[in-house]
């Protein structure tokens, strides 16, 4: 069993799994390993949106609920397996708006039960949310309704990082939303592009981009582990692959063929020869 396969063994069926968007270091190797493990009934939390990782998990039958501000493949278009499953009612979708996800996780980071957020009042999004309430701002002289967003505690956060080190820290650079997820989740599992010896926290230049081992439950090495998404300065997003996926996954049959080739098989078409 590979390190990545062993890492995802920690994820239980039915878990609330927080995932980053396609542009923010998704752990695609781990997502493929989860599909091979036939994990079931996951509740996905998009921080704040989801893309290919969610579409693969949904199409492969691993997902019961999607909590997200959006699911899309960006320029490659709609996420076909998500759209199909939502239209057929095969998954429950709870719609968010991006800052409400961030706010709910920041409340957990701070150990408070809720946090206020401007906007949103009058949106139909509020109808699906027993975990949101509109309250009067207690400090205002006049009427001032404001949205209160309950804290969210993900069971697991899963993402990729450029580096892990001997001390159990990971370096995500500017992708600080990953720090917010890690701070809020009960357990955080990370795949890393490279492992470095020593302790990165001793390096003043690296320190601001680190999530310390305090928050990390497990690390596994996964070279090109974000493919077909990218890691800044290491490899770019494989736009051609995403476009090919978007076309193939329009049908269940095409999606199954994609799984056979790229998930059950080990093909990574953009690997350098």
């Amino acid at each position: 069993m590979s390190g990545v396969d062993a890492l995802v063994e920690h994820l239980a069926d039915g878990a609330l799994l927080a995932l980053p968007p396609d542009y923010s270091l998704p752990a695609m190797d781990a997502v493929r390993a989860l599909i091979r493990r036939k994990v079931r009934n996951l509740k996905l939390l998009g921080v704040p949106v989801l893309g290919l990782s969610a579409d693969l998990l949904i199409g492969a039958g691993c997902v019961a609920e999607v909590h997200s501000s959006a699911v899309s493949l960006g320029e490659a278009g709609l996420a076909p397996r998500f759209s199909d499953a939502a239209e057929r009612g095969e998954i429950k979708v709870v719609d968010y708006t991006c800052p409400a996800v961030h706010t709910a996780l920041q409340a957990t980071e701070k150990g408070v039960p809720f946090m206020p957020l401007r906007g949103v009042i009058g949106s139909d999004l509020a109808h699906d949310h027993a975990d949101w309430q509109i309250a009067q701002n207690p400090f205002a002289a006049g009427k001032d309704p404001i949205l209160l967003v309950s804290a969210i505690v993900p069971d697991v956060a899963l993402f990729h990082a450029r580096w892990g080190d001997g001390a159990g820290n990971v370096w995500v650079g500017r992708r600080r939303e990953l720090a917010t997820i890690a701070h809020a989740a009960r357990n955080t599992y990370v795949t890393v592009e490279e492992l470095r010896p020593g302790d990165m926290l001793e390096d003043e230049l690296l320190a601001p981009g680190i999530i310390s081992s305090t928050y990390i439950s497990g690390i596994a090495r996964a070279e090109r582990g974000a493919w077909p998404l990218g890691v800044a300065d290491v490899y770019a997003i494989d736009d051609a692959h995403l476009a090919a996926y978007a076309a193939a996954a329009k049908t269940r049959e095409g999606f199954q063929r994609y799984l056979d080739e790229f998930v059950w098989g080990t093909k990574k078409s953009s690997l350098p020869a």
């Binding site: 899309s72 939502a86 800052p99 409400a100 401007r118 906007g119 500017r174 990218g230």
Partner: protein, 230 residues
């Protein structure tokens, strides 16, 4: 035309699905205006160091003047729907339910049809207006489509047809719009000048190719210049 609408801006933010508004912003910069353009999904040199929530923190404080929103459906009260319509599921509301409250917003949708511009949206991702007790700095300014430009009249809560683009008519716009709107002294949208067109096809095209590769390929026939591997 979008560039003309936002010419007074200091700071404009542009999302991943907005290559045409992004082109308008880059056009203003190419013409020498000192405008800060934050492209949310810039693949290299993204301005945020606190993660994607920093955009919303900036907007919440009022540090972003203009934003762009579209929708699967838009209605005559400027409500937008990014969630579901006619049995079809769309990606979702993204940050709209917050950004629409915090930024002056240009509504932009290329398709101008009764399918898109409806009497009432099926789902309100973000409302076009709010009661006076709800704090709201931002909201709709204009609606731009492939056929016309509408101005938003905040007091009347109604759109007013400002101009139709060359080769389109007021009757055609009326026929292809599902909601009622005001229309008096409707002009023709002035086309871009020769200088603007030249900039769009050179400087602006180069600026956009890395972050909107599919758009750049379609419009300008360019291949992406994104090569991060040394």
């Amino acid at each position: 035309m979008i560039a003309r609408l936002i010419g007074d801006a200091n700071h404009v933010a542009v999302g991943a699905a907005s290559p045409i508004p992004a082109a308008a912003c880059e056009l203003l910069r190419a013409k020498g205006l000192p405008i800060r353009v934050t492209r949310l999904h810039k693949r290299k040199g993204n301005p945020f160091t606190e993660g994607s929530r920093e955009l919303f923190d900036l907007a919440g404080q009022g540090r972003i003047d203009y934003f762009f929103l579209g929708g699967a459906q838009l209605d005559g009260e400027a409500n937008i729907n990014l969630v579901h319509a006619e049995g079809r599921r769309f990606p979702g509301s993204f940050g709209s339910a917050f950004m629409y409250f915090t930024c002056r917003t240009i509504l932009f949708r290329e398709e101008h049809s009764r399918r898109v511009l409806v009497p009432k949206v099926e789902f309100i991702s973000a409302p076009g207006w709010s009661p006076p007790e709800v704090e709201r700095r931002g909201g709709p300014v204009a609606l731009v489509t492939g056929k016309a430009l509408f101005a938003w009249q905040k007091e009347q809560r109604r759109f007013r047809l400002e101009s139709v683009h060359p080769r389109h008519s007021v009757e055609e716009v009326r026929d292809s719009t599902g909601f009622d709107f005001d229309a008096e002294r409707v002009g023709e949208t002035p086309p871009p000048t020769a200088e603007e067109l030249a900039l769009l096809r050179s400087t602006v095209a180069r600026q956009l190719a890395d972050d909107y590769p599919e758009f750049a390929r379609r419009v300008w026939g360019m291949e992406s210049g994104t090569k991060l591997m040394p």
